[in-house]
């Protein structure tokens, strides 16, 4: 059954896949970061907080909005950009050279990285490959779009 994006169920599905691929994530190493994901659509947005610890996504919850002071960083983008990224990953098995997180966020024209502390911001890069591999697990999840 398809899980809708954005939703807690979508991230829970990725969490299950992450647990099923523990060998890969253990090879990548500890991932200790808490970050937000915000998906905007027609002036409204849905926001989530993802807490990673050791090798797992420990928790995910939906929140009315993300306070950048409470997390390391927030990935913010329009639902159109998120959808394009997800469809690209599903098509290729992983993000292609135009759709990985760093490329989408680098100039801030597609995804934006919002942060309070540069130390928190740098955590995106400290755990970049794990975060990218986490989103690439979307290729194994059937996703529908409700925005």
């Amino acid at each position: 059954m398809a899980v809708s994006f954005p939703s807690v169920e979508y991230f829970e599905a990725l969490r299950e896949k992450m647990a099923a691929h523990q060998d890969k994530f253990q090879r990548l190493g500890f991932i200790d970061t808490t970050f937000g994901v915000s998906v905007a659509n027609n002036g409204k947005s849905r926001s989530f907080i993802l807490e990673f610890e050791v090798y797992e996504l420990k928790s995910v919850r939906e929140v009315p909005s993300v306070d950048p002071r409470q997390v390391d960083f927030v990935l913010v983008g329009d639902s159109r950009v998120w959808r394009e990224m997800i469809e690209n990953i599903r098509r290729n098995g992983e993000a292609d050279t135009s759709h990985d997180i760093n490329t989408l966020a680098h100039l801030g024209e597609q995804l934006k990285i919002v942060y309070d502390s540069p130390d928190g911001h740098d955590k995106l890069y400290r755990f970049m490959e794990s975060i990218q591999e986490f989103f690439d697990l979307t290729s194994q999840v059937d996703v529908s779009f409700n925005q």
Binding site: V54, E56, T97, N102, H106, K123, Y125, M128, E129
Partner: protein, 380 residues
């Protein structure tokens, strides 16, 4: 031989007799069993993570108990061991905690160990077989890789040469610095491999870059080295790796830059936490740090503007050498240059040095560059 043993044991009759006596009689000394050391039983705070250095932060063995000035241990004795008479003086250069400590040092080391990767087997080199790049792009990519190989070689030497100079009581910092040297050696390896796999071989070494690198290597103190290397140089290189990932023409290059940026961000993290620690625990050093930054910023400004680097970025960002390519390349490269400077000052502010902007000539350059970019229609 700079150091000679205090005795010639092979010709010392008492020493040799004692050795033979033990063999003959089986009589043991066992005085070491009565070492006046603390008995502890550490356990894993999180079994998924394993037994970490933080779990060993107990009593006299812990890093929390380290004094600001380590006077007792000048030998190679592990922290917490009994130190009998007769151990040599290791003559450490750094025995003051605030000269090298960083908040969460032990976690940075554990993360470094856990996130090691292998440039030979973790990069899908075989995918390059089908990746044909235009000559200009291939040469620009090779020039970038040549530049980065040069950078990473000195980045390996610099932390490594400080290792024996640090008091052995600072185990966690020494471990982190050793892990950093390994990270940088792997970066040298991966960039060299990628340069050669472009098919164009290595391009040109960079005098401007090497001047900046020599500044890192020849720092007079650990703190000066850390400010110049971890905070300024690696901060700039982290932004550069993210930019290079963004520009990467193949998914192999993307993977390389994602992996190196992880290591680099960890080094910057240590640098920031060290800088913060110095400012909080050794406030009289603030002026000295400003002086270090004056020089480090001067050199990093010059190094970042090295022709070999800037032009390869412009070509990679614009996609070639046609006029429209160059215009686009300059637009994107200018945004990157300014972002490098902006993030540098953000880091310093967060570390507790907000006044840096007012004192820094680099910040003046940032404002001038930003104004020039906006006048040229480049949205920063």
């Amino acid at each position: 031989m700079a150091y000679l043993a205090t005795r010639n044991f092979l010709e010392d009759k008492d020493f040799v007799d004692k050795w033979l006596y033990t063999i003959r009689t089986g009589e043991l000394d066992l005085s070491w069993m009565k070492s006046a050391t603390e008995k502890v039983k550490p356990h894993e705070a999180n079994p998924r993570r394993g037994l970490t250095y933080r779990d060993l932060d107990i009593g006299n063995y812990g890093f929390s108990a380290l004094p600001e000035k380590v006077r007792e241990n000048r030998s190679y004795a592990p922290r917490g061991a009994e130190i009998p008479a007769g151990v040599p003086d290791s003559q450490p250069w750094v025995s003051r905690k605030s000269e090298l400590w960083a908040f969460n040092t032990e976690s940075y080391y554990e993360e470094a160990v856990s996130r090691q990767w292998n440039a030979t087997t973790d990069i899908p080199w075989d995918r390059l077989e089908s990746a044909e790049l235009p000559e200009t792009i291939g040469k620009a990519l090779s020039q970038l890789m040549t530049f980065l190989t040069e950078v990473e070689m000195i980045a390996t030497d610099t932390p490594a040469m400080w290792l024996p100079r640090l008091n052995p009581d600072f185990i966690e910092v020494k471990a982190f610095i050793a892990a950093q040297a390994m990270d940088e050696a792997r970066h040298t390896e991966v960039f060299r491999k990628r340069a050669l796999t472009t098919g164009w071989g290595l391009m040109q070494a960079s005098p401007m870059n090497e001047m900046a690198l020599k500044h890192l290597r020849d720092a007079d103190s650990f703190s000066e080295m850390s400010v110049a290397l971890h905070l300024v140089a690696e901060g700039n290189v982290l932004t550069m790796f993210r930019f290079s990932e963004y520009l990467s023409p193949t998914d192999v290059d993307k993977k390389i830059f994602r992996l190196v940026m992880q290591d680099e961000a960890r080094h910057v993290g240590y640098g920031m936490q060290h800088f913060k620690y110095v400012l909080e625990h050794f406030p009289e050093k603030r002026e000295v740090l400003h002086a270090h930054l004056d020089e480090a910023e001067n050199i990093s400004f010059a190094g970042a503007a090295a022709t070999e680097l800037t032009e390869s970025f412009i070509i990679l960002a614009g996609g070639g050498l046609k006029r429209e390519n160059i215009e686009e390349g300059i637009r994107i490269t200018t945004i990157f240059n300014l972002k490098q400077m902006q993030e540098h000052f953000e880091r310093l502010e967060k570390c507790g040095m907000p006044e840096r902007k007012e004192r820094s000539k680099l910040y003046m350059m940032y404002e001038m560059g930003k104004a020039a970019a906006e006048a040229a229609g480049i949205r920063v």
